[in-house]
């Protein structure tokens, strides 16, 4: 079980990258599947050629960020839709990864890795390794918190939240997108480089489906800790990543489940996370359990900038109310809230529509692309346009 936590903490680096692109930048970046392998392959190749494992870690990060750069340039310079740009990069990187590795699987047996000192003392999969990896994951988490509190970080958040406004305030949205995509995929590459050394090999298929793992971690974590405070949102991502690995671990303990069922379990888990994060009952339960959830603010109407995952993107503004993570109010507040909104709240149609639009456009690509995009459209908590109105009414109007 402790080695599952180890892995969860390593994949937390990837999940933090996914958090940056999907949640902060509102950019459906599927580059992750390939940039993870780029990081892993680069590190494994360097190490197996006798270079320092630490160089491998740094090179993995750099290689991953180059993957992000390609996607960012395709999107900003050639105006290719984020989803398509990242799928193109993912496709191309597969070949690049094979070139880097020179074969489909690069083993790291009997060579020195960053984990060798731990392994020599039989400390892998113990509380010691958990503590060390947790410290690393938290250090990255705090670095992201800091980044997002800087002037540049605020510009990144504004770019994701309202690109037209950001641009009108002098933010070069191209620059913020390029930097954030490089940073996010750098973290993904870093996760790959560390993971390759942890498990002792890099495999060309190692990154397949990881975008979903990252999203599942983000969704799980944000459902638990909320998104109201950035420090908790990023902590939630780390927690979510560990939770995800633990669920897989416990599922595999069951005799009926075989190792080849992993992908199916992953898919089911993501669906469950999505469904549960929309469930009012679950959110209510969390709000009672969690001390951070007591919230003075009224429930908030959310207005989401034009949905960038939709092919109708530029013109199609979608608005809906709090996403899962924002079900912060306590039980009574929720009750009042529901009454305020009245029975007339329209169903969350806009969200479904945008998700559907993406699914149809991306359907011929890979299933997981479509699913990821659907996820990215953010699980809407509650129904929509009316909600904002109701809140406005209760607000002290000016």
């Amino acid at each position: 079980m402790l080695s599952a936590i180890d892995q969860g903490l390593i994949y937390a680096l990837l999940a933090l990258g996914v958090f940056l692109t999907f949640r902060i930048l509102n950019f459906a970046d599927l580059t992750v599947d390939a940039s993870f392998t780029t990081g892993a392959g680069t590190a494994a190749t360097l190490i197996s050629h006798g270079y320092s494992p630490w160089l491998g870690v740094v090179a993995g990060l750099a290689a991953g960020s180059l993957g992000g750069l390609v996607t960012a340039l395709l999107h900003t310079k050639f105006k290719i839709d984020p989803l398509l740009a990242s799928i193109l990069t993912m496709l191309g990187l597969y070949s690049v990864n094979l070139r880097i590795m020179g074969r489909a699987n690069t083993p790291l047996l009997n060579v020195e890795t960053v984990f060798t000192p731990l392994r020599d003392h039989n400390l892998i999969g113990t509380w010691t390794s958990v503590a060390i990896l947790a410290a690393i994951a938290l250090a990255v988490k705090f670095a992201i918190d800091w980044f997002l509190s800087t002037n540049f970080g605020l510009a990144v958040m504004a770019t994701g939240d309202n690109p037209a406004m950001a641009s009108s305030l002098g933010v070069s949205t191209d620059v913020t997108k390029i930097v954030t995509l490089m940073l996010a995929n750098g973290l993904v590459g870093l996760a790959g480089a560390v993971m390759a050394q942890y498990q002792g090999f890099a495999d060309i298929g190692g990154g397949t489906g990881l975008i979903l793992v990252g999203l599942a971690s983000v969704i799980l974590g944000n459902a638990v800790l909320g998104t109201r405070f950035m420090v908790l949102a990023t902590l939630g991502v780390v927690v979510g990543s560990v939770l995800y690995r633990l669920v897989i671990y416990f599922a595999l303990l069951w005799d009926f489940v075989k190792a080849q069922d992993m992908k199916l379990i992953s898919a089911v888990l993501v669906v469950a996370a999505l469904v549960l994060s929309q469930s009012k009952a679950l959110r209510g339960a969390f709000s009672r359990l969690s001390p951070w959830r007591a919230d003075k603010d009224a429930p908030e109407p959310m207005t989401v900038v034009p949905n960038r995952f939709s092919p109708l993107a530029e013109t199609d503004a979608v608005s809906f109310s709090p996403d899962a993570a924002d079900g912060l109010e306590d039980g009574t507040a929720r009750e009042t809230d529901r009454r305020t909104r009245g029975a007339s709240s329209p169903p969350a149609a806009p969200v479904q529509r945008s998700a559907a639009a993406v699914t149809s456009s991306a359907g011929h690509l890979e299933g997981r692309a479509a699913e990821a995009a659907g996820t990215a459209a953010k699980p809407a908590g509650e129904p929509a346009p009316g909600a904002g109105q109701a809140v406005d009414d209760t607000e002290e109007a000016i």
């Binding site: 958040m157 939240d161 904002g388």
Partner: protein, 262 residues
């Protein structure tokens, strides 16, 4: 301060949907000038503002601010000089960010955005003072997300974000159209104050003819991508809504004739 020369913009050129949004606009605004712009839908009012702001590029002509030709500058590089408030209260602010974070993004208008902290204690005090000047009590809610504010509050905040860094030019695109009359009045009053206080050169597009007459020192009437009439301060003072309607009527007749003759 702001000079437009022969500005033309055509959408979907060469297709069946071709629309000539601006057909040679010449405009010269002195520093501190405040123009209101009226015109029917599709007259090119918003296109004009978009061309000045840089969110649309011009096909022909030039845009010059304070002697500097900015025709080819992208929007974000013009932002140091040009600020704007949009019609939609949701467009001018970032809903998931707090009031103080929004202000911090606006404060960096035109400057470098580095890795210094966005919201420092000093800035927070500054924001508090600025918000207090709106008289809406927002200074006590600086950590609240902007998505929580009402339309009027958001629009007042947008206006503050647009003006408190003292840009040279302020573009107002029907910025009171989505508000009820009472809040529209309040936002107009805040607009008037901000423009006077910072001596801004301003362009205000509106569908409300009464507002167009009351605000500013010059009035433009646009139709089909052209400036049809200009009223200076004296003419504006003498005019009322019926005068404007009459001018509109003439404009339509004139154009109908032209269509027939051409």
């Amino acid at each position: 301060m702001l000079r437009l020369t022969g500005v033309r913009k055509t959408f979907f050129a060469g297709t069946a949907n071709e629309r000539r949004a601006l057909r040679g606009i010449d405009l010269n605004l002195p520093e501190g000038g405040f123009v209101t712009i009226i015109g029917s839908n599709g007259a090119g009012k918003s296109t004009l503002l978009n061309v000045i702001a840089g969110s649309l590029s011009v096909d022909e002509g030039s845009v010059v601010i304070a002697g500097q030709d900015i025709t080819r500058l992208p929007e974000h590089r013009r932002a140091a000089r040009i600020a704007r408030v949009f019609q939609d209260p949701q467009a001018g602010t970032s809903p998931h960010m707090s009031i103080e974070q929004n202000l911090a993004v606006a404060l960096a208008r035109g400057g470098r955005r580095g890795l210094g902290r966005g919201v420092t204690p000093n800035r927070r005090r500054q924001f508090q003072d600025e918000l207090a000047s709106l008289g809406l009590g927002l200074e006590d809610r600086m950590r609240h997300r902007v998505g929580l504010l009402s339309g009027g509050q958001r629009q007042a905040l947008s206006l503050l974000m647009a003006t408190f860094t003292r840009p040279q030019i302020l573009l107002l695109d029907e910025h009171t159209a989505a508000l009820d009359p009472q809040r529209a009045e309040l936002v107009l009053e805040l607009t008037r104050r901000a423009i006077a206080e910072h001596n801004l050169t301003a362009l205000m597009v509106t569908h409300n003819m009464e507002h167009a007459l009351r605000m500013g020192d010059r009035l433009l009437m646009m139709h089909e991508g052209e400036i049809l009439h200009q009223l200076d301060a004296d003419q504006k003072a003498a005019a009322d809504v019926s005068t404007l309607l009459e001018l509109f009527g003439q404009a339509k007749g004139l154009l109908a004739d032209r269509t027939l003759l051409s």
